[in-house]
C-alpha cells in the first residue's frame, strides 16, 4: 500500500504491483515497473501544497485537500528560494478550502529539489512519457465497423464507389438505378465537396438520395456515412451506393463500413492509373473500366491497363463497361446481384 495516499489494488484498471520511493515520494508501479496513476513526487511539510503528475485524488486524505497541476520552470537542480503564483487546473471535482492565488515558498536543500516530477529527462526537464500505441485511424475504424453491423443487420449491400473526377460515376449510377428499378430498391449517398447537382441527377433517375458536402474535405469518412445512413434510412435488403468524392488518393484510407469497394476508371484516363494510385486499386474488389465505347477513338490499351491492375491487385475483377451505351452492364448487375445475395446469406 502506498504510505502517502493509501492506494493499493488497482488504479485506473491497472494493478499496482509495487510502491517505490519513500514516504511522501511514493511512486506507484505496474508489474513491469512502469509508473502508473500518480506519483507523490514532492516532499512537503505541514500544509504545503504538493504537485501531482496527474489529476488523481487521494483515497485517504493527506494534509492538503486538493489535487492540482502546477507548472514550474523546468530546469533546476540547484538550491533556490522562490515564491510563485501558479495557475492550476483542477482536473476533477473535489472540495477544497483555500484562496486560489496562493504563494508558497519552498526552501530546498541543495541536493533535494522538491519538484522532481516523476521521471526526469536527461536535459533536466520534468516530463513523463505515456506509451499510447494507438492506431491513428482507430476511431474511423470503430465507426466503420458500427456502420458495417448496421448495414449487415438490415441485409443492405453497400458499395463504396471511388474514382477520379470525370470517370463517369454519376452517369453509371443513373443508368444502374434505372436498370435495377424493377428488381431492387436502390438508394444513394452522394459525396461531393460542393453542390447538390449530383444528388439532383440521382433523384431524377428515381432513387432516394442524401447528399454529403464535405466542404474542404477530400473524402468521406465513417462518421459522415453514419450520419447519412440515419438520414437516408435505406430499406432492408436494398442496394446502397456510396458515391465517394472524386479522388483516387484520400478515400482509399478511410473504411466506411461498406460491403465492397468498387473503383471506376475510364478509357480517357491513362492505363497507368493503377500503378500511380496503388492504394486505391489495391483496396478494390471490382474495377469497372468505363467509356469502352470510346476505345476506337483513343490510344488506350486495355490489356496494359488490366496488366497494371493485376500488378497491384491480382484478385480484383475487371469489367469493361459503357454507362452511356450499356456495354458490359449485365456483368456489373450480375456481380451486384451475387454479392447482394451473399450479404443476405451471411446476415
Amino acid at each position: 500500500m502506498c504510505a502517502t495516499c493509501g492506494c493499493s489494488g488497482t488504479i485506473g484498471g491497472e494493478t499496482v504491483a509495487a510502491v517505490a520511493g519513500e514516504v511522501g515520494r511514493d511512486l506507484h508501479l505496474r508489474e513491469d515497473d512502469e509508473a502508473i496513476g500518480h506519483a507523490h513526487d514532492q516532499v512537503h511539510t505541514d500544509d504545503q501544497v504538493h504537485a501531482h503528475v496527474d489529476d488523481r485524488t487521494h483515497p485517504r486524505a493527506v494534509k492538503s485537500k486538493h489535487a492540482h497541476l502546477h507548472k514550474h520552470a523546468r530546469e533546476h537542480g540547484h538550491a533556490h528560494e522562490h515564491e510563485h503564483e501558479h495557475e492550476h487546473e483542477h482536473a476533477q471535482e473535489h472540495e477544497h478550502e483555500h484562496a486560489h492565488v496562493h504563494k508558497h515558498a519552498h526552501e530546498h536543500d541543495e541536493q533535494e529539489h522538491a519538484h522532481d516530477h516523476g521521471r526526469v529527462r536527461a536535459e533536466g526537464t520534468a516530463a513523463r512519457t505515456l506509451q499510447l500505441e494507438k492506431e491513428i485511424l482507430g476511431k474511423n475504424q470503430l465507426l466503420a465497423e458500427r456502420n458495417r453491423g448496421w448495414l449487415q443487420g438490415r441485409e443492405i449491400f453497400a458499395v463504396n464507389l471511388m474514382s477520379s473526377p470525370g470517370s463517369g460515376k454519376t452517369t453509371l449510377l443513373e443508368r444502374t438505378i434505372r436498370d435495377l428499378a424493377k428488381q431492387a430498391s436502390v438508394s444513394v449517398i452522394e459525396g461531393d465537396q460542393e453542390t447538390r447537382l449530383d444528388a439532383e441527377r440521382i433523384r431524377a433517375a428515381g432513387a432516394r438520395v442524401v447528399q454529403i458536402n464535405t466542404g474542404t474535405g477530400c473524402h468521406l469518412d465513417a462518421q459522415m456515412l453514419g450520419r447519412a445512413l440515419n438520414e437516408l434510412a435505406p430499406a432492408p435488403g436494398s442496394f446502397l451506393f456510396i458515391e465517394n468524392v472524386g479522388n483516387l488518393v484520400c478515400p482509399a484510407l478511410f473504411d466506411l463500413g461498406e460491403g465492397a469497394r468498387v473503383v471506376i476508371a475510364s478509357t480517357t484516363e491513362g492505363e497507368d492509373k493503377p500503378l500511380k494510385y496503388p492504394h486505391m486499386f489495391r483496396a478494390a474488389e471490382l474495377i469497372l473500366l468505363n467509356k469502352v465505347d470510346l476505345l476506337p477513338h483513343l490510344s488506350f490499351d486495355v490489356t496494359r491497363f488490366v496488366a497494371h491492375v493485376r500488378l497491384v491487385n491480382p484478385a480484383a475483377k475487371v469489367v469493361r463497361v459503357s454507362a452511356t451505351c450499356g456495354d458490359g452492364l449485365p456483368e456489373w448487375y450480375e456481380w451486384l446481384a451475387e454479392r447482394g445475395a451473399s450479404v443476405r446469406r451471411t446476415a
Binding site: D54, K71, T129, L132, I136, L137, K139, P278, H279, V312
Partner: protein, 109 residues
C-alpha cells in the same frame, strides 16, 4: 489532403488519452507504404492543434521502412513502394511492414 484528417485523428486521440497536463511531444509512426506523407502531416499539425491541449507540442515522426515477403521464393526484402517486384520475378509481395499509422507515445508535463 487526407493528412488533415490524419492530423485531426492524432489530436483527438491524444486529447482523449491524456487526461490532463501539457503535451510536449507527440511521437507517431508513419510507414512508408501507408499512403500518408509525413511532411504533409507536419504541415497540418500546428493548425490542428490550435486551441487544444496539444497546442505547442512538437510532432516527432518515426519513419517505418517497408518490408515485404515474396510468396514464391520466400525471400524477405525492403520495399519502398506498394508495387514492388521480387528479384525472382514475382510482382506480388506480401507487405509485412510499412503500413503503420500509429501514435506511439506522448510526453506530458
Amino acid at each position: 489532403m487526407h493528412e488533415l484528417s490524419i492530423c485531426q485523428g492524432i489530436v483527438d486521440s491524444v486529447c482523449e488519452a491524456v487526461p490532463g497536463g501539457e503535451v510536449l511531444v507527440v511521437t507517431v509512426e508513419i510507414g512508408r507504404l501507408s499512403g500518408v506523407v509525413p511532411d504533409a502531416v507536419r504541415f497540418c499539425f500546428d493548425a490542428c492543434t490550435r486551441g487544444t491541449r496539444v497546442e505547442g507540442a512538437r510532432l516527432e515522426v518515426v519513419d517505418v521502412p517497408g518490408r515485404g515477403r515474396c510468396g514464391t521464393c520466400e525471400r524477405e526484402l525492403d520495399v519502398d513502394e506498394l508495387v514492388a517486384r521480387c528479384p525472382c520475378g514475382n510482382p506480388f509481395l506480401e507487405i509485412l511492414r510499412g503500413r503503420e499509422l500509429r501514435i506511439r507515445s506522448v510526453e506530458v508535463n
